[in-house]
C-alpha cells in the first residue's frame, strides 16, 4: 500500500510565521513522493490545532505524519497522543524543530526558510523508515524492600505500609532506629530523639504488613524495576525472637566483657547484649566472635539464666528470598575517624572525643546515664569543640557538624551551667530557618565562638588538654578538660558492597550517586532502586525523613498493585542472525541490560533494563544491534538531506 504522509508546518503565530516563509515550504514539499498533503497551521498545539491534526489523519487516511513546529521537548507527547487518538501509531510521527533551532536563531528569512525546508525534508525521509512501536507493559510485584532502619528508612517503610504495601525492612544492626536512636535531644526542636522515634519504631514492629529483618544483610539482587528477586542473609541471633521477652536476665551472668561499639567504645557490653537500653526489637543477640560457648569453650551461663528457654546455640544463618518491585536504600552514614589526623590527639589522649561519643555520654541510655563525665569520673570544667574535622581530607562540608556542635553546646550549658565552652570554627554552616537562632542562643548562653584558621593542635600538659590554634593574626592556645571533635560525615561502610551488588554508582565521596542531583535526588540510575537519607550525602534528620517519604511516594505512584508497569519503548534489539556473539555490547551497557545467551552464543537485551541510549548499537561491529526509533537507516535518511 502506498504511503500517505501528511506534513504540517506550524506558524506558531508570528514566531515561525514571520521568520520563515512557511507557504514556500508547504508548496515545495507537496510534490515530494508519498506526501499526500502538506498544510500550514497558525498554532498546531492549540485545541483547534490538535482537532485539525486528528481530522486530517482520519480524513486523508494518513499512514505517517511530519510536524514542523517548536522543539519536540514542548509538545511531542501531545502530538503523539493526538496521533494515537486518531488511530495512528505515535511512532509514525516525526517532529522537526523549526522554531528554537531555526526561526529564532536565524535572522535572515531566506536562510531560515532554506534551513527549515531541509529539516522538513529530512523528517519526511526519516518518517518513511519509522516503524510502529507498541507499548510494552509488564506485571509487577508491589512489595518493597527497604535497606536500613534509620529515620529515612523508617519513614519510607511507614509511608509504604500506610498504603497497605508489604515492606521488608532489613537492617544489619540488631536493632532499628539508626544513628538517630543513639541521640538524646536533637536539633532544631531540641526534643528527645528516643521519644520522637519510639512510636515510629513500635509502629514498624507491630504493623502486620511490615516484616523487619534485623541483624540481616542483602546478599544478592537480580531482576529489574517491578520484579526484583532479593536474597537476604538473616544472621544467627542465637536468641529466639519468638521466645524472648527481653527481660535481660541473660546479661549479668555472661562472663565476657568487650567494648560496646554502640556507645562508641565508651562502655563495655557482654557477649549477649542489646546495643543500648530501649533498643528495638527488644531481643538480645549473641556476638558469636566473642561468646565463649560459640568459640568452643565451656559456658552456658546465659542459657541457664534465661527463664524462657530462648537461647539457641544451634541457631544458623538463614538465607531468605523475597520478591519485590522496588528497593529503597537508606543505609546511612557514620563519622569520619579523626585518628587519621594525629594533631587532634584522638585515641592518643583521654577525653578527646568525637561528637558522637559526646552524644552517647549525654544520652540517658548511654554509658554514664546521661552524665557528662571525664575519664576520671569528674565533671569537666571546660570543653573545646574543634569544627570541620576531616572537611579538608574528605573534600566536602558535611553541613550538619556545626549544628550538632551548637546543639551539644546548648545541652552542655544546661547540664553543667558553669562549664566553659570554646567553639573553634573556621566557617560556620547554619543554613536553615531555625539554625541561626539556635546559634545566637548558644552565644547568649555563654558559649564562646572563636574563628581559627583550621590548624588546631591538641597536646596534653599535665592533666589538661591544650588546644593550640591560630586566628587571622596570632597564635593562641586554650587549656581545657575535654576536646570534642566535630567530625565529618562519611558513607556507611556497607555502601561500597551494596553499590557493587546492585551495580549502581557511587560519587567521588563514596555516597550513592543520585539519578539527578537536583530533580531526582532520591533515584539511582538503576530504575526501581531509590536512595534516601545520608547514604546519598550528609544530611540532618528532617532532610533524611523528607527523602524517605519522597522515595516511597515515587514507588506508590508508579508501582501500583494490579497495574502494569510501562517500559521504555525505544530500546535496543539484537538481530539473532547477525549477532556474532562478540559481547562488545555487553561490556558497554551502563545498565547491564545486555547479557549473553550461552546456548545461542549471542547477546540478548533485557527490555526492562534497557533505557535506549544506543551506545551498544553504535559499537556493534556486525550491525546486529538496532536502536528502535533511532536506526542507522533513519539517521542516514536525515543525514542525506541535512548534509546537502
Amino acid at each position: 500500500m502506498a504511503e500517505r504522509i501528511g506534513v504540517y508546518v506550524c506558524k506558531c503565530g508570528p514566531n515561525i510565521g514571520d521568520k520563515i516563509d512557511v507557504d514556500v515550504i508547504v508548496n515545495d514539499v507537496n510534490s515530494i513522493k508519498n506526501v499526500a498533503t502538506a498544510k500550514s497551521h497558525n498554532l498546531l498545539c492549540s485545541e483547534d490545532g490538535i482537532k485539525f491534526l486528528k481530522s486530517e489523519i482520519e480524513k486523508e487516511k494518513l499512514s505517517r505524519v511530519v510536524i514542523a513546529a517548536c522543539t519536540p521537548k514542548m509538545y511531542e507527547q501531545k502530538f503523539m497522543k493526538a496521533c494515537e487518538e486518531a488511530g495512528l501509531n505515535p511512532y509514525l510521527m516525526q517532529m522537526t524543530n523549526i522554531r528554537e533551532q531555526c526561526a529564532w536563531v536565524t535572522p535572515d528569512k531566506t536562510a531560515a526558510t532554506e534551513k527549515a525546508r531541509s529539516f522538513v525534508i529530512a523528517a519526511i525521509n526519516r518518517v518513511l523508515l519509522q516503524e510502529p512501536i507498541e507499548k510494552k507493559e509488564i506485571d509487577i510485584q508491589p512489595d518493597v524492600l527497604v535497606v536500613g532502619g534509620g529515620v529515612a528508612g523508617m519513614e519510607a517503610t511507614l509511608t509504604l505500609a500506610q498504603k497497605g504495601r508489604k515492606v521488608y525492612l532489613v537492617d544489619k544492626s540488631p536493632c532499628i532506629g539508626g544513628l538517630g536512636a543513639r541521640f538524646e535531644e536533637v536539633y532544631q526542636t531540641m526534643e528527645c530523639a528516643p521519644c520522637m522515634l519510639a512510636p515510629e519504631m513500635q509502629d514498624i514492629l507491630q504493623k502486620e504488613n511490615i516484616e523487619t529483618l534485623t541483624h540481616s544483610e542483602i546478599e544478592d539482587v537480580v531482576g529489574s524495576y517491578g520484579n526484583f528477586s532479593v536474597k537476604i542473609r538473616k544472621k544467627a541471633r542465637y536468641v529466639s525472637e519468638e521466645a524472648c521477652i527481653g527481660c535481660g536476665a541473660c546479661f549479668e551472668p555472661c562472663p565476657v566483657e568487650i567494648s560496646n561499639e554502640f556507645d562508641e567504645g565508651l562502655s563495655k557490653r557482654k557477649a549477649i547484649y542489646l546495643p543500648f537500653a530501649g533498643a528495638l526489637p527488644n531481643v538480645p543477640v549473641i556476638d558469636k566472635d566473642n561468646c565463649k560457648k560459640l568459640k568452643g569453650e565451656e559456658c552456658n551461663a546465659c542459657e541457664q539464666a534465661c527463664p524462657f528457654g530462648a537461647i539457641n546455640f544451634d541457631d544458623e544463618d538463614k538465607i531468605i528470598e523475597k520478591q519485590v518491585g522496588a528497593i529503597i536504600l537508606a543505609t546511612g552514614s557514620m563519622l569520619f575517624d579523626p585518628k587519621s589526623i594525629p594533631r587532634y590527639g584522638y585515641r592518643k589522649f583521654d577525653n578527646v572525643l568525637t561528637g558522637l561519643q559526646l552524644e552517647r555520654l549525654n544520652a540517658s541510655n548511654g554509658p554514664t546515664g546521661g552524665k557528662i563525665l571525664l575519664k576520671n569520673g569528674k565533671e569537666p570544667k571546660s570543653i573545646a569543640f574543634i569544627y570541620c574535622v576531616g572537611r579538608k581530607e574528605k573534600g566536602y562540608c558535611s553541613g550538619v557538624c556545626c549544628m550538632y556542635s551548637v546543639k551539644l553546646a546548648h545541652l552542655l550549658r544546661d547540664k553543667l551551667p558553669d562549664v566553659k565552652i570554646y567553639n573553634l570554627y573556621t566557617d560556620l554552616c547554619l543554613p536553615k530557618k531555625e539554625h541561626q537562632r539556635l546559634y545566637n542562643e548558644a552565644v547568649d548562653k555563654g558559649a564562646k565562638f572563636i574563628r581559627s584558621d583550621g590548624t588546631e593542635n591538641v597536646t596534653r600538659v599535665g592533666k589538661n588538654l591544650v588546644v593550640q590554634y591560630k586566628t587571622d593574626t596570632t597564635k593562641k592556645k586554650v587549656s581545657v578538660d575535654m576536646v570534642v571533635l566535630a567530625s565529618a560525615v562519611e558513607p556507611d561502610e556497607s555502601t561500597e558492597k551494596i553499590a557493587k551488588l546492585l551495580d549502581i554508582p557511587r560519587d567521588e565521596q563514596g555516597f550513592f550517586s543520585e539519578e539527578h542531583a537536583l530533580m531526582k535526588p532520591f533515584g539511582t540510575p538503576l530504575e526501581g532502586v531509590f536512595i534516601a537519607g545520608s547514604c546519598q550525602g550528609p544530611k540532618d534528620i528532617a532532610d533524611a525523613v523528607a527523602q524517605g517519604g519522597a522515595a516511597a511516594g515515587r514507588i506508590l505512584s508508579k508501582l501500583i498493585p494490579g497495574e502494569k508497569l510501562e517500559l521504555e519503548p525505544k530500546v535496543a534489539e539484537i538481530d539473532e542472525d547477525l549477532c556474532s556473539g562478540c559481547s562488545t555490547c555487553i561490556t558497554l551497557c551502563p545498565y547491564s541490560a545486555t547479557h549473553r545467551d550461552e546456548e545461542k552464543k549471542i547477546a540478548v537485551v533485557d527490555d526492562a533494563l534497557c533505557r535506549g541510549c544506543g551506545t551498544c548499537v553504535a559499537a556493534c561491529p556486525t550491525g546486529a544491534a538496532r536502536a528502535k526509533h533511532f536506526t542507522k537507516e533513519q539517521i542516514f535518511a536525515e543525514i542525506k538531506e541535512v548534509a546537502k
Binding site: A103, V105, T106, P590, A618, F630, K632, I635, E638
Partner: protein, 137 residues
C-alpha cells in the same frame, strides 16, 4: 550562509545539548543557518559511520555534542563517544581529512550561550578549511 557547500551536521544528544540548542533559540542567539541538527538520544549513539556518511553526503564539518563528562543521562555514553571520536579523527587524518572537521564537545541543557559559541566557532573553523572535496573511490 550563502555557500551551501559548507554544511555542518550536528548530532545533539536529547538530554543536554539538544536542550542547550533550544536555549540558544529561546535567547535568540544567532548562528549560521548551515548548522543542521540531528537529534539522537545520547552522544553514545553516534556511530563513527554517521560522521563518515555525513561527509559522503556533502557535509564539510560534523559537530557532536553531548552532556558534560559526568552528567550523561545514561551514566557514561559520552565517555564512549570520547574514545570513539578520538580514534575516528586519527583514522580520518589517515585519509587526508582534517580532524578539525569533526568536533566533539559538551553542552549542558542550560548552556544556550555555549551552544551558540560552539556552533559559531565550528562554522569559522570549517570556513577556514573550506568545503570538503572527497574524491570518488
Amino acid at each position: 550562509m550563502k555557500d551551501d557547500k559548507l554544511t555542518i551536521v550536528s548530532f545533539l544528544c536529547n538530554w543536554c545539548s539538544y536542550e542547550g540548542a533550544d536555549k540558544a533559540g529561546n535567547a535568540r542567539l544567532n548562528y549560521p543557518a548551515n548548522v543542521r541538527v540531528i537529534r539522537v538520544m545520547c552522544s553514545g549513539r553516534v556511530d563513527p559511520e554517521f560522521v563518515i556518511q555525513a561527509f559522503k553526503e556533502g557535509a564539510s564539518g560534523v559537530l557532536i555534542l553531548g552532556c558534560h563528562p559526568g552528567d550523561c543521562h545514561y551514566k557514561k555514553g559520552n565517555y564512549k563517544t570520547l574514545r570513539r571520536i578520538y580514534l575516528l579523527k586519527k583514522t580520518l587524518e589517515g585519509f587526508g581529512i582534517e580532524p578539525e572537521r569533526v568536533r566533539l564537545d559538551w553542552v549542558a541543557a542550560g548552556e544556550g550561550e555555549r551552544f551558540a559559541k560552539v556552533a559559531n566557532e565550528m562554522v569559522k573553523t570549517i570556513e577556514k578549511l573550506g568545503p570538503l572535496e572527497l574524491s570518488e573511490v
